[in-house]
């Protein structure tokens, strides 16, 4: 009974529909686990226990009555602290929004709620999604459930750890340069970044508007497809969201990859990858070949410029998006200031952490008079070249496979002092955001360090709106590898 939190969504749904278990039992198991690990791992900034159990009871009653229920009825899900849920505190793990209560719910939250999902709490993250380790949170770092002396990755480290530690059956995160895929890799769970425009960003606190996407952390690929099916598709409130020609249908994920052409970009296998990580990724590629796929070495020639382009474009958009935090309409307002100017500078200076201020300044500089052409404009042109690389590659192959992260989970504090070293964690993930293509990270094994196994992630990318191909290859690999072994703490 008390192991119900270890189920995945597919398994839980079978038992709920058969009324073998109740949503209350399932939710209680998750909440009990969340409570027991949270003081050590700092996964959740807030647990919504009373409300979650109330919702669970409602779903159970509706099921007993024979009412029609949504696709995710009774499934406990966690939300990253940058997704608005009406009436609930939401802070982007920043001091500047401490006590702020969401005035409306994000579209993805509304859709999950309509499908019957139970929200268990909001998860820790790097402040305003800026970081690759969750150490930039104003509320303390999250620890990796596989080894609490290490980071879970970031910026959605809390959501990744929440699923890895079996405190919920799925969690939502956001991915601007790898913030779902990288922590998924470091925490041994499945992390999915949809095509740009597939999922509405309404109600996601904006970081970089041309790069952000919301996506799920799950224990299996099929679960990810199921969540995507609920949250995807156009939304009149997000003009960058698109009417999909075909929506995601989990049961129709074709079950084999014979003849599928998979490209291995050679630029993703040069310096910087830990040898043990590379070996596991190479083994996985061999496995894909044994499963019938055709493996081809390809080139994405401008890969080396991806991180640089990202760290010009993203901070520029960040500097614009975070201008709204000025102490006027919401958020922290500095006291004892002598002028409006000082109200702005002190509210922002005191409310934002170091990384947020660094990136705002970087972006401001890159957009300022005299520098716009050399920085922002040039980076956006390089971005065109990067997007073209993917377009060319997908003329010859159906999907790409790469490592997700060059290393396994690193120690807390190891990279914190040097921003640039931290940025290198995203080297394999940023290009997908720049080009707008979908990406998924699935576990492909572990590497032992100091006697503890640490997960490694395998990344698949597909063309725009090619999620069905991406899920297909990820699912087949996962089943063959039996790799949905998430940590029970």
């Amino acid at each position: 009974m008390s192991d119900l939190n270890k189920l995945n969504i597919g398994e839980a749904q079978k038992k709920l529909v058969a009324q073998e278990i109740s949503s209350r039992e399932l939710t209680e198991a998750c909440l009990t686990q969340a409570r027991s690990v949270n003081s050590d791992l700092n996964i959740y900034l807030e647990l919504w226990e009373t409300e979650a159990l109330k919702e669970a009871d409602k779903i159970d009653a509706a099921r007993a009555r024979g009412d029609e229920l949504g696709a995710l009825a009774g499934i406990p899900i966690a939300l990253k602290d940058n997704l608005l849920f009406e009436g609930h505190e939401v802070t982007a793990a920043s001091k500047i929004l401490k006590g702020y209560r969401a005035a409306y719910s994000a579209t993805v939250v509304q859709r999950l709620r309509a499908a019957g999902a139970i929200f268990v709490g909001r998860t820790n993250m790097d402040e305003f999604a800026m970081g690759s380790s969750t150490e930039n949170s104003a509320y303390g770092p999250t620890k990796n459930p596989w080894d609490p002396t290490r980071t879970p990755g970031g910026s959605s480290g809390g959501s990744a750890a929440a699923v890895a530690a079996n405190t919920c059956l799925a969690a939502l995160g956001s991915d601007t340069g790898g913030s779902i895929r990288q922590p998924a890799a470091l925490c041994g769970v499945v992390g999915t970044k949809p095509t740009y425009g597939r999922v509405s960003r309404y109600g996601l606190m904006a970081m970089a508007s041309s790069l952000d996407q919301i996506g799920p952390f799950t224990k299996t690929v099929k679960d990810a497809a199921q969540i995507l099916q609920v949250i995807e598709n156009d939304d009149p409130r997000d003009s960058t969201s698109v009417v999909l020609e075909e929506t995601t249908v989990p049961d129709l994920i074709p079950k084999d990859i014979r003849g599928l052409k998979i490209g291995v970009p050679k630029e993703y296998f040069i310096s910087g990858i830990e040898p043990d990580v590379e070996k596991l990724v190479r083994d996985a590629i061999k496995k894909l070949e044994n499963l019938g796929a055709e493996i081809r070495e390809i080139s994405l020639p401008h890969s080396d410029y991806g991180l640089a382009a990202y760290y010009v474009i993203m901070p520029a958009e960040v500097s614009s998006n975070l201008a709204r935090f000025d102490g006027i309409r919401y958020g922290a307002r500095a006291k004892e200031v002598k002028s409006l100017y000082e109200l702005y500078t002190k509210s922002r200076g005191e409310g934002f952490g170091n990384e947020s201020r660094r990136r705002i300044m970087l972006g401001t500089y890159g957009l300022s008079a005299g520098y716009y052409d050399a920085y922002y404009n040039q980076a956006q042109k390089v971005r065109t070249l990067i997007a073209n690389d993917f377009r060319e590659a997908f003329k010859d192959v159906d999907c790409l496979v790469t490592p997700t992260s060059p290393t396994v989970a690193f120690k807390l504090g190891e990279r914190f002092a040097d921003p640039l070293t931290m940025y290198l964690a995203d080297i394999f993930t940023v290009s997908a955001n720049l080009a707008g293509v979908p990406g998924i990270s699935v576990p492909c094994g572990t590497v032992e360090k100091e006697g503890k196994p640490l997960p490694v992630g395998l990344q698949f990318m597909a063309r725009h709106f090619g999620e069905s191909t991406m899920f297909r290859v990820a699912h087949v690999y996962e089943q063959a590898n039996n790799s949905n072994n998430n940590k029970s703490v």
Binding site: D304, Y305, A308, E342, G349, F352, Q378, K381
Partner: protein, 104 residues
């Protein structure tokens, strides 16, 4: 080596309306300089034949009719409750035209 001067750091901070302590001006200046150094590699790319990428997808302007739609009553209440300063239903702010110390 792109080394930001102290003046430049102060100028950027002013543009971004960010207060920095003297210590932070030093530390951030060094850190930002090293990041700018890294992104300078973008200058080596020949972009003469390309345009900036304005949108990753092939979508055009999305428009709708200019119709007023009522906003939720709960949302309105929450918005007002989030005001850092409040007088009734109104957002209260410091008077703008009093005591400015702007000097740039």
């Amino acid at each position: 080596m792109a080394q930001l001067s102290r003046d430049e750091v102060e100028h950027i901070a002013a543009l971004a309306r960010l207060h920095l302590t003297e210590e932070e001006k030093n530390v951030f200046g060094t850190q930002l300089s090293s990041i700018l150094d890294y992104v300078a590699k973008l200058q080596t790319v020949d972009t003469s034949a390309v345009k900036p990428l304005d949108h990753v997808l092939d979508v055009k302007n999305v428009t709708r009719n200019d119709e007023v739609k009522p906003y939720g009553a709960t949302s309105r209440t929450l918005i007002i409750e989030n005001f850092p300063g409040q007088t009734g239903d109104l957002l209260s702010v410091p008077a703008v035209f009093e005591q400015t110390t702007e000097n740039f």
